[in-house]
Symmetry: C2
Subunit: 342 residues, 2 copies
């Protein structure tokens, strides 16, 4: 199946220096893939003179005269940057020219623009950001990782329905295990928001397994496929895990370089240390999907390098192939009409 992905070529901390090589590598690896690089043609054309011919029809440039800054306010970007690389890349999804869009740009602006251009799936109140995290059991999907700062129980319930469809499609699991993030596993624990959401989920057709604590994101004692939380808590958890990994990596490096003997040991342990680094490489988990919209937008980490951005493009390829957006739309409609919560 041929699929087309539009890339916000100017987005992220490194712009075309990362987005272009990552795109070229994906084109090389998947001959059924087409990529539209969206951005300043004055920058992109000279970079791509020879390769466009090489990929005969699979690679093209769509000019966009503006670029959204990494710290620009979402509302201002939406109002003032109608020809931004981000906006034009999303327009291509709306117009059916691209099947998905990938951007490493400003998260708030990307979400606001995607919501404005693509519109929400009818019945869904809020979009949510979902991603996967490595875990002892393989990996875990979690949402919302930062789209919403204040959620109701009903919002959490809708996130669970959307996330459940994504996990079903992407992982080929008939009934993913869905859990709510809380500060204890007992039913009496938590705030009103999670307690009410738990009741909604218990009465739904989802395979709801109860509350889990923060350690379940990476290392729960049992495998859970999807963890649901509000965007404030989810984002803090995600960043806390990033910080812990950074601190631990820093300590490991310091321990292996504190004297000559340790440095020698590091040389001998190099294959094991390399294998370890690969196992927990966050670049292999880059890419978060915006759920709740009538089109697929994947957000890459702003500081992504080529490997990380490639991971985000590959995530887009998978979700297009698995038809995730259509499945979510249909299921949400069904859930709201026939009542999942029977």
């Amino acid at each position: 199946m041929a699929l087309t992905i539009s890339i916000d070529a100017m987005g992220g901390d490194f712009g075309p220096l990362v987005t272009v090589p990552a795109s070229l590598e994906c084109l090389k690896e998947n001959t059924g893939l087409k990529i539209i690089l969206v951005g300043d043609q004055g920058v992109l054309k000279p970079l791509l003179l020879d390769v466009i011919a090489h990929y005969s029809g699979r690679l093209s440039i769509q000019h966009a005269s503006e670029c959204v800054g990494m710290h620009e306010l979402p509302a201002q970007a939406l109002k003032n940057k109608k020809d931004s690389s981000m906006r034009v890349a999303i327009n291509l999804v709306r117009d059916g020219v691209a099947d998905a869009c990938v951007s490493a740009g400003n998260t708030g602006a990307l979400m606001a623009t995607a919501k404005f251009v693509l519109k929400m799936i009818p019945g869904i109140a809020r979009p949510a950001i979902i991603s996967t995290m490595p875990s002892i059991h393989g990996h875990t999907h979690a949402l919302d990782l930062g789209a919403n700062v204040d959620c109701t129980a009903e919002h959490l319930f809708q996130f669970a329905i959307m996330g459940n469809e994504l996990v079903k499609a992407v992982e080929n699991i008939a009934r993913p295990k869905v859990a709510l993030l809380n500060i204890g596993e007992e039913a009496v624990k938590g705030n009103d928001q999670v307690k009410t959401a738990a009741k909604l989920l218990e009465n739904s057709s989802l395979n709801y397994v109860g509350f889990v604590e923060g350690d379940s994101l990476n290392a729960g004692h049992a495998k859970v496929d999807l963890i649901v939380t509000d965007g404030f808590v989810g984002n803090v958890a995600l960043k806390s895990i990033e910080g812990a990994a950074k601190m631990i990596g820093h300590s490991l490096k310091a321990s292996f370089s504190k004297n000559l003997l340790a440095k020698l040991a590091a040389l001998i342990a190099y294959p094991a240390l390399k294998s370890f680094k690969h196992r927990i490489d966050p670049r292999l988990y880059n890419g978060a999907s915006f759920l709740g919209l009538r089109g697929l937008v994947i957000k890459s980490h702003g500081g992504a390098d080529t490997l990380a951005f490639k991971t985000a493009i590959k995530l887009a390829e998978i979700e297009v192939r698995k038809d995730v957006i259509r499945k979510i739309s249909e299921h949400v409609e069904q859930a709201l009409v026939t009542g999942v919560r029977s």
Copy 2:
């Protein structure tokens, strides 16, 4: 200065098997320390026959006939277990017999009992749990780590005042850098709770440095001394970090045991790996203080081993010596009377 600590000897997953050896080690290391082990004398006396004489007057047993279960509901423990080891240990603090109490028991029951027995510092609306976390810059204090599931901006402000006094006393810093945990560093980011708390802190005499994200708990780009958040978010962050560390440790172990060469490398790298393990050893960060009460109660992790429980007792020793509770009480009174928020 002589100081006395009451130990809930029956609390935690391992009870006297951990609390007794940890207490004995602390007595050996600090000759100015007295310990009262609270619990079932039928269990404790046979264990301590010889050592009590050895520590002539520095070690004693206070009988308590009951024990609070790790999953018992706080309200039930409070109502039905008036002679629990936890309750009697806290009573000793209330009666001025002990300067602090250390327990590895059920957090909810310990908090409820401590609040009921010791009462709150006048003017403080909610107690909070504070602890330190290892970071690239040394360590960071953070609160609330789980006492409150729903906080207002005013609660966060009070947590900051209490935490600030603790950090000043324990770290000997005149003006600790205080930050609020948020999902972005820009002033526009976050929910109403943190935005309002930020305004209260900006107008206070505290050295408020702004918002930080979750990664600042372990690895922020700048050193912050105290991070303030509500108990739901703080607890999820804490547990997420625990899970990340567990997953990373698991991956490291797997990488160093996947074949004979890797196992050999692990032997050679043993000193470096041991130094690494020590650097991030969570047992060296065990112990959280309940702030807002008119007495000092330290909560140890339920699964603490002897080293970890020793760390919690040492934390109690430090906070008694630094007179943390009196300083918080005085400062809160001053803050409420003269208006810190001038």
